[in-house]
């Protein structure tokens, strides 16, 4: 049975629709991220799952039982969930150990068991030596670990995380991404993770739901999301990309300034009328000489208009001859071209992801 099912969940605040017919199903033990720009409704969705907000429409079910519906919802304290907040929400009037023990005390576990479980979980998050400290005496990363321990120790049915890393500095953030995934691999708690940082989502998640303006654009595993974005928004939001608009003319697909034979695409039959593709910068190769014809489907002459050296790669901008497009191309650091140099672009139709029409 599915652990968590959101069925056409909407939430309005006055005239504003924050979440619009959201659908998502989580299998037990799955880690799903809600990814999107600020204001896209991801936190609102999370707070509805937690029970802090009622949906305006739709239902949320956990293990087959409806827990949220318009007008009647199970209060947060009855859901056996845990949540990690943006501010960590570590209670400053309690020590680390007291913070972690709270959920077990509320569940009326015996004293000995509480002590034992608190001790064990603090070891897991490497905070055992700081159990008697007060939160004010901890660094941001340590507070984050306390928040994780406090949420996990109660063995929640669902763990919710609301941009938990946004208050940490860059290095620590990177470290904690892996920490969160490690804890998930250890405890297998069904997790919903809200973030606006795609790297965070890619590192930690089994699947990512990309949200925009209250709607889910696409739900997929990180690799599929990157390689096969289905909408313009997803293509642009996950990584950088080139958006190519074209139109089918006879046997060719015509783009601004060049054409590509239709049969070169993996599914030629699906390409009809006006089309749009996402092509990642690293899926384009650059050549100084025209490459020998043959297997290559689309070789386009162009001129290099801008370049930047970023250490790990080159970031070039190339204008195909007779086109207004400016294509981003990244190459390995030793593939050096000069600005204004005439180059040949080698496009691979196999890597061009067709986008849904707007």
């Amino acid at each position: 049975m599915s652990r968590l099912v959101l069925t056409d969940v909407s939430r309005r605040f006055g005239p504003v629709t924050a979440v619009d017919r959201f659908r998502l199903t989580l299998a037990p033990g799955e880690f799903v991220s809600l990814l999107g720009p600020s204001g896209c409704g991801k936190t609102t969705t999370l707070r509805m799952i937690a029970g802090f907000l009622d949906p305006s429409e739709g239902t949320i079910a956990m293990d087959g039982r409806t827990i949220s519906s318009p007008g009647s919802s199970l209060p947060p304290e009855k859901r056996n969930m845990s949540m990690i907040f943006q501010s960590y929400a570590i209670w400053p009037n309690m020590t680390v150990a007291e913070n972690v023990a709270f959920g077990l005390e509320v569940r009326r576990r015996p004293k000995g068991e509480i002590r034992e479980r608190v001790g064990r979980i603090l070891e897991v998050v490497q905070m055992g030596h700081l159990a008697e400290r007060y939160p004010q005496e901890l660094s941001g990363g340590q507070q984050q670990r306390v928040a994780l321990a406090r949420a996990i120790v109660v063995q929640p049915t669902v763990l919710l995380l609301d941009e938990p890393l946004s208050n940490l500095d860059a290095n620590l953030r990177e470290e904690m991404r892996y920490e969160i995934r490690r804890l998930h691999d250890e405890f297998h708690i069904t997790t919903v993770y809200v973030t606006h940082d795609q790297a965070e989502a890619m590192v930690a998640s089994d699947r990512i739901a990309v949200m925009n303006q209250g709607r889910v654009e696409q739900v997929d595993a990180p690799r599929a999301l990157y390689a096969r974005p289905r909408t313009r928004f997803v293509a642009g939001f996950i990584g950088r990309t080139n958006l190519l608009d074209g139109e089918v003319r006879g046997d060719d697909v015509a783009f601004d300034g060049f054409t590509v034979p239709r049969r070169a695409f993996p599914e030629p039959a699906a390409i009809q009328g006006r089309v749009a593709f996402s092509l990642r910068p690293q899926s384009i190769a650059l050549h100084r000489q025209p490459p020998p014809p043959g297997s290559r489907a689309a070789v386009v002459p162009g001129q290099l208009v801008q370049r930047a050296y970023l250490g790990e790669y080159w970031d070039y901008t190339v204008r195909p001859a007779g086109s207004r497009l400016a294509l981003r191309v990244t190459t390995r650091p030793y593939e050096v071209f000069e600005v204004d140099e005439k180059v040949w672009l080698d496009l691979d139709p196999g890597q061009m992801a067709a986008l849904q029409p707007e």
Partner: protein, 559 residues
């Protein structure tokens, strides 16, 4: 979330709020149109209230006193605020402490002190004048309109000082520099740039001073009555002489209520007006104006005013409290502890009043704070629809003069179904209501400083809302609420204007007793009672400093 079991608690608390604020006001309004005997609708009360020249004259006197006192407060407060905020005047700490001391002194105790200082013939200043000039009598007479205005101004100018100072503190030196670079001298800059920037605050304070003065009961009763003139508050009090004419008093109080509500609204608009950088943005760096020798002149002015308001009055109160007879002056054989012992231990009435004062104030503070906190919480967490309205209800007593509130309480709770008159509860609840806005604004600020996620965290881990309140919110609020408790407790210990209408035998408090005893002319006893209040207040203020910080008392709360 409406299914929350805590909802019952919230609804009960809202009912209590309505009982404390809305019911007295509604009953007041009702009483003003009610025939005393038949209970039928009538306008006779208004005719009785305003049909006599004596009554109208008292209203005019109130307006004269209010306006004059506000003008004097401005003359006192603005230069002092400017000196402390913007100049290199020495001994600022001393001036600040003296203003605080003035603030701590109940206005009626100040009136007693001024009677000792400027009473005709026997007053210290008059005797000093006679001693120096050989004249038979001194020129000072506190029992006059001028005397009343001066006494009222002495004890309310701290508001002007605080309002103006906080406005001046926000003006960055860049504003003044901009004028200087255009060739303006220090004086011109101050008059054309600095003070105009603080003008909305000064005008707002002017209104507050005016309202404070017309709502005051203590000083007018001690000074105006012997001087044979009346103001509105003393007139209202006389309407309550046996048998109380509640309906006429209610009608007579209506203009006072409406003037107050209107002017507070005006003041709010003045302060809220945008475009005055002084009140909207934190300025950059501030440098102090170098005054040269003039700084001593300014210090002299500040010390003169605080001498009138604090140093001299405190001196004569101390002398009288420890004197066998205050008129015999300063000498060791005139010193005694008899008065204090008498007040605290020997006399049943004063001993009881002392106990009552602190018990009632304590109970009122707890009720006000508990209620304010709950209402602030309900509003902040949107637990009921239209929560914002509750904010206005909780803040409403701020614009109700104490004396009007007392008449409302009398009208509401002397008849069935809820008879509180004659019990301590009517005093306690009236005090709680009167100072509810102080409690509310502090509770609201304290609550806002707590991230709601702290509470959410407790709930998602399985704790209910009430558990989250008890285990998380309450402990975190403790510190902030200690300060709020003191801020409510201090005015509650000295409250006179509402107590005077609601006490009965056995429920006197020190302020009432002090006023009652003023007829007998036993100033040693009055001073002793006043001194007890001042000492307790000072102790509480010092405690507040430790708990909350130095600015807590004169922070601009409730505006």
């Amino acid at each position: 979330m409406a299914s929350d079991r805590s909802l019952v608690v919230w609804l009960l608390l809202i009912a209590l709020l309505l009982l404390l604020v809305i019911n007295p006001l509604a009953r007041l309004l009702w009483a003003s149109f009610e025939h005393p005997d038949t209970g039928a609708f009538t306008l006779e009360n208004y005719v009785a209230a305003y049909g006599r020249w004596r009554h109208v004259e008292a209203l005019i006197n109130s307006l004269i006193v209010g306006l004059s006192a506000a003008v004097v407060c401005t003359v006192f407060g603005v230069p002092m605020a400017w000196a402390v905020s913007r100049t290199d005047m020495p001994a600022k700490g001393l001036v600040w402490a003296a203003v605080l001391g003035t603030f701590i002194m109940p206005n009626y105790l100040g009136a007693v002190a001024w009677i000792l200082m400027a009473g005709p013939n026997a007053g210290w200043l008059n005797r000093l004048y006679s001693g120096l000039t050989g004249a038979a009598a001194g020129p000072f007479n506190v029992y006059s309109m001028t005397g009343l205005v001066l006494v009222i101004a002495c004890y309310s100018f701290p508001y002007m000082f605080v309002f103006t100072r906080s406005a001046l503190d926000l003006i960055s030196s860049e504003m003044e520099d901009a004028a200087s670079t255009l060739g303006a001298g220090a004086l011109r800059t101050t008059l054309r740039v600095t003070l105009p920037l603080a003008l909305p605050a000064i005008m707002g304070a002017f209104i507050v001073e005016f309202l404070e003065a017309i709502a005051l009961f203590g000083s007018p009763a001690l000074i105006a009555l012997p001087a044979r003139f009346q103001v509105m508050t003393t007139m209202l009090w006389q309407m309550f002489e046996f048998p109380p004419r509640v309906q006429v008093a209610a009608a007579y109080a209506m203009p006072l209520l409406f003037i107050t509500v209107f002017l507070f609204w005006l003041q709010y608009r003045l302060i809220a007006r945008k475009g005055f950088v002084a009140l909207t943005g934190k300025g950059g760096e501030r440098r102090l104006l170098r005054l040269g020798p003039w700084r001593w002149v300014l210090l002299g002015y500040c010390l003169l005013i605080t001498s009138l308001s604090f140093f001299l009055p405190m001196l004569v109160i101390l002398q009288a409290a420890f004197a066998r007879a205050w008129g015999r002056g300063l000498s060791w054989d005139n010193v005694t502890l008899r008065n204090l012992r008498f007040v605290l231990f020997d006399q049943t009435a004063t001993r009881m009043a002392t106990v009552n004062t602190f018990v009632y104030a304590g109970a009122a503070s707890i009720i006000a704070l508990g209620l304010a906190l709950a209402i602030a919480y309900i509003v902040a967490r949107r637990l009921v629809p239209l929560g914002r309205v509750l904010t206005y209800v909780a803040m409403a007593p701020f614009v109700i003069p104490g004396i009007v509130l007392a008449i409302g309480f009398y009208a509401a709770y002397t008849t069935r179904p809820l008879v509180l008159y004659g019990t301590a509860w009517i005093l306690i609840l009236a005090f709680a209501t009167r100072f509810l806005p102080i409690a509310y604004s502090n509770s609201d600020a304290a609550l806002r400083s707590i991230n709601p996620e702290l509470e959410d965290a407790a709930r998602i881990l399985g704790g209910g809302r009430l558990l989250a309140l008890r285990r998380i919110v309450a402990p975190l609020l403790r510190r902030g609420l200690a300060g709020a408790f003191i801020l409510v407790f201090i005015p509650a210990t000295r409250e006179l204007s509402s107590a005077i209408f609601l006490y009965t035998t056995g429920t006197q408090v020190l302020s009432v007793l002090l006023f009652d005893k003023s007829d007998e002319g036993n100033f040693e006893l009055l001073s002793s009672m006043g001194l007890i209040l001042v000492v307790v207040t000072v102790a509480l203020v010092l405690l507040g400093f430790r708990l909350v910080g130095r600015d807590f008392l004169l922070r601009r709360t409730a505006t």
